[in-house]
Symmetry: C3
Subunit: 204 residues, 3 copies
Amino acid sequence: MDDLLYWIGLAAVAVNALTGVLDAGRKRMDLVGVVMVGMATALGGGTVRDILLQRPVFWLSDQSYLLAALLTTVLIFFAVRNLKLPPRLFLIPDAVGLALFTIVGTRIALDWHAPWLAASLLGMITGVVGGVLRDVLCNEVPLIFVRGELYASAAWVGALALIGLQALNVSPVAATWAGMALVLAIRLAAMAYKITLPTYSARE
Amino acid sequence: MDDLLYWIGLAAVAVNALTGVLDAGRKRMDLVGVVMVGMATALGGGTVRDILLQRPVFWLSDQSYLLAALLTTVLIFFAVRNLKLPPRLFLIPDAVGLALFTIVGTRIALDWHAPWLAASLLGMITGVVGGVLRDVLCNEVPLIFVRGELYASAAWVGALALIGLQALNVSPVAATWAGMALVLAIRLAAMAYKITLPTYSARE
Amino acid sequence: MDDLLYWIGLAAVAVNALTGVLDAGRKRMDLVGVVMVGMATALGGGTVRDILLQRPVFWLSDQSYLLAALLTTVLIFFAVRNLKLPPRLFLIPDAVGLALFTIVGTRIALDWHAPWLAASLLGMITGVVGGVLRDVLCNEVPLIFVRGELYASAAWVGALALIGLQALNVSPVAATWAGMALVLAIRLAAMAYKITLPTYSARE
């Protein structure tokens, strides 16, 4: 199982890097901008989690994540000149990556003795903060704050489910898979049935 | 005194969360955006202070701040549909919160052996960085950088006063109250008499 | 050599602070905004490096950097009212500062046992993240992401050269000077001959 998670993790880093590259491209960035936005998108969530937990930053312990993000961004930067990549192609890998990042982040926070509510938020942060950083660096309001999509909320519910199941003495392995499946199921259902969040509206 | 500070602290977190919600609302954010901007506003200053000091992040040690910020943002998100909240209502609690955050932040920095100038800046950071984060996430130039108001400067003077008084052998308790009173007094006087800071102007 | 590096370091902090002040000025910021943007520009790169390495933040150990940044920003804030500063004047000191920050940052990362690729990126981060922070706080897309200039890339090549030379058993002192000279040479050559990076372009 650890091996499988490791490879899905690297793939999720690559998919995240890709969304960073496409967004940086819309701003007509140069190679450095594209690579730095791509890497911030791919590695930002886990980095913020590790800094908040005061635990060694994951890409300083294992450079393979750094290499995966760097190679992906450079490859895509040159590939998009000759290939057309339809963004819809990446919706499913992105949802898998969100589920994985969130649940792995929650597990790490629990292992470092974060209390339950903080651990669930650190899991969500692992899943979504890369995209927030990407949008801030591209000088845009973060997409996940305005679109009304079930994205960060799907991540949070899955993280809470994992923590709840473990509190009910479900085995960690089973709770991990259940949490990931839940994030993925909510995300896919929200896309299929266009379920949205309420938006801010004030009395005038 | 510690009990009183604790409750004022929770109230200040709630007021800060509120300014985040109102700002996020102007950008028509969804529930997730409002909650995340609200929480970043409420907890951001203390979080940056703790990361810079490499001390355990305060909301990971005590979840009550996290709960106060979360409940406030969700409550206000739904309350503003039915209630009209005049922003002027919050100027006084916001000034109290600024005074409290700044002085508590300065004390913590001194306890962690930060040198005096760094400690005064860490106090100011505790007081104002939440609002800076809020404005960055809402894709705006930080308000406290452009308005010319005595806000961060009031915080900084109070922090320096606390440090100066302790250097003169005033008791920590007395210096704490004096620092807080000074931040509050400068802030309220600046609002009442419209005292402003000089603005950048270059020779053409 | 250490003494020389120390003084060049303080000068580089001052030059960085200056670019922050000029940028904040374009946004008509007040004294607090100018000082905070100036200090974030001057100290941001090294601060992010230290937080990622979980090593004590450099301006908490030695306040002279803090003082240099603070005095420079306040002085320039008032000086620009009476003096006209042509931005071209600072291109050379800025290139020297980039070379110094990058190579010192890389050395520190190696001393803290960061693996080679991570160390080279931490060196680049030390050199360029202050400017990125400045642009984010001024609500602009980071200049070094869009201009196509050899800036971050010059820093990265110099950091890699330092690491490569040490792997080939060149003495640390010689490798340090060679790395710095390389960053400076690439940067000056790029300015003189207008060498630029490829920019993102997608197939339509």
